[in-house]
Symmetry: C3
């Protein structure tokens, strides 16, 4: 497995239209894995910028009327160029604007991957997810009991959309409609920092750009990298350090990660 | 005293319309104390988002025509729902737009708490504060000599506005017009990082959301937590570390803080 | 040499119209060197804000129709007040909007310093730079072979624009058309974090504000400080730390830097 090495050799350029809350960490995690980020969200800028990139990651975390337009313009251009397209529907289910925007983006643009928490993905699949702000609601939580059923409706949703669906939480899922990676990496402390989801969506875009011939595995390995980085970062945390330092160390861990570490540390099964 | 435990149990959702300079630290400090942040500033998004939250923190640090509208829309909605409302008038006194916007927000919306530096609060109280950019001017500095007089006019301003007034600086003040907490936590190094004020305003919103029955104490304890976190973070700073690492360690310290630590470390008197 | 001491004594206020990707690090590095940052980008706010400042740093990293207007308004006001003006043409060459905006800003406003990577500066000098997103293209790389020629066209471009031109990369150049500082500080790891360029532009604005009587040396020393901070930060990096922690430690190193360290560590020649 030379997934990470491959990203570092190909150094894909990733255009991010993303929220201003987590944008700095998003840029640094893209750099950490060996790719390059470019942020641009003006309607007159996005076509040129996305044209020189390999992939586009659209994150609706702090969407507004101006940037929504740019998302459609950039998305259509990226699609016409056969670039990798990833959607992060932050807060779908929490407001009508977010839900509507995500749904409309999915209608007008074909995404290679859609990544969200379970409540956001439930919302988009028409299963009335109980998004609690930008976090999944505990009533939507996936556990060992409903795991099999979750895998099934995610596969179904993936077939309907033609997109790889990635759901992250205590247990992560990445499916292309046929196979589903069920991933058990990560650490509970990751919930106490902002932006691990946003970061993962951009990281995943870079991985899929570099591994287009096997998008499902590339996306699943990006999810493993993020979770494993959370585990590694935890081991280096001093007693007096907390969530803010932890956030930086997760990016550090991605920066230092090798394919050997990934192979040893990735905890997944394919269903 | 179970102030922090209370926040961690209630896990309030805090809607922040805030500046893009310090937004990531604001999100992480809200998470650090056990609450959840949501950032949203589009006029079509803010009503839905604020409706699912417990409180709204409006910070005018990088205000613009578009987001000013959203502040009023969100503020009115939050008020109609009896949510906790906090205003951080960043840079009031430094520009006419900032002063006007803060004054108009205070007219149209009732804030539970208004938190600023001494120059910003002087400006809003019509006492011609000498805001030096986003920092208080040294000519406005509160010292032992003018402390008593400061407490008096702050109480007066609190009674006039019906808002708890929180002023932070070398000495901090939190008053509801009757009682005034005079707080002496904090470290001089906090002045060398951006965003401690913004972070405190959001932290304070979370504390008041969780402790509505005693807003004054909740607000005052949030101020103590921030200052104490600055003191604790300082003790762990290596010789080669400086303001940027310090900024993260302050959030870490909030993340690790217990009510026992707060009780031992809070340095205040009530006047 | 008392360059840093001078900044810390004069504590200049720097108005930044800058991108939201790196804005927090920009604010903290300005504070780290002893100056104060203010971010403001609304057309109705920027004139008041820039008036109370000593310098203005315009960074087009996430430009949009709204903020482009503000850049011109702020720039003209700052110029009329004889303030220090610095341009960071992020991504010039990567999109027509960026190139056009940078060129137009240079036409309408006189900048004391223009700082970019070699591809951005080549683009502005009409030499068809091959900007790879927001990074310089490897085909534009300066090495020992083309160094002399590079110094010559940079001097020429500086004379034509009347601006100090600062180009950063493996080797850095700072020229006023007569003299050119060729600087060899820095560490390769700096390429793996976002925003060192943006941070340097703001740091440089602070240095020139404090050292207007010798702008060239002030600008060159800011470049040395940034590179040296990158070297110092590297020496303190634990094996498990990576690019994200490194980013903070660079700012820390600026915060702790003394003129003695700078004098010992600055590696430059004047051509």
């Amino acid at each position: 497995m030379e997934i990470i090495k491959n990203v570092r050799q190909k150094m894909p350029l990733v255009h991010c239209i993303t929220n201003y809350v987590t944008v700095n960490d998003v840029a640094n995690i893209v750099l950490a894995c060996g790719a390059s980020p470019i942020m641009s969200d003006d309607k007159k800028d996005v076509e040129d910028i996305t044209s020189i990139c390999n992939g586009l990651c659209i994150n609706i975390g702090t969407l507004n009327a101006r940037t929504i337009k740019s998302m459609f313009i950039a998305g259509k251009k990226a699609q016409s160029l056969n670039h990798v397209l990833v959607l992060d529907p932050v807060g779908a289910g929490a407001s009508r604007l977010r839900t509507r925007t995500a749904v409309k983006l999915m209608k007008k643009i074909h995404f290679d991957v859609i990544r969200g928490n379970i409540s956001e993905i439930k919302t988009l699949a028409g299963k009335s997810g109980m998004t609690k702000g930008v976090d999944a609601d505990s009533s939507d939580e996936v556990n060992e009991k409903n795991l099999e059923a979750t895998v099934e409706w995610l596969k179904d949703f993936s077939r309907k959309t033609g997109s790889i669906i990635a759901v992250t939480g205590k247990i992560d899922f990445v499916t292309d409609g046929q196979k589903c990676f069920v991933i058990r990496n990560g650490d509970a402390l990751m919930k106490s920092i902002t932006g691990t989801g946003c970061q993962l969506s951009a990281l995943l875009t870079a991985f899929v750009c570099a591994g287009k011939e096997n998008s499902l595995e590339a996306a699943a390995m990006a999810v493993c990298v993020m979770g494993l980085a959370g585990e590694i970062a935890k081991t280096h945390l001093a007693e007096y350090e907390g969530n803010a330092t932890y956030a930086k160390r997760i990016i550090d861990a991605v920066n230092n990660m090798t394919d050997e570490e990934l192979e040893d540390g990735a905890k997944y099964e394919v269903r």
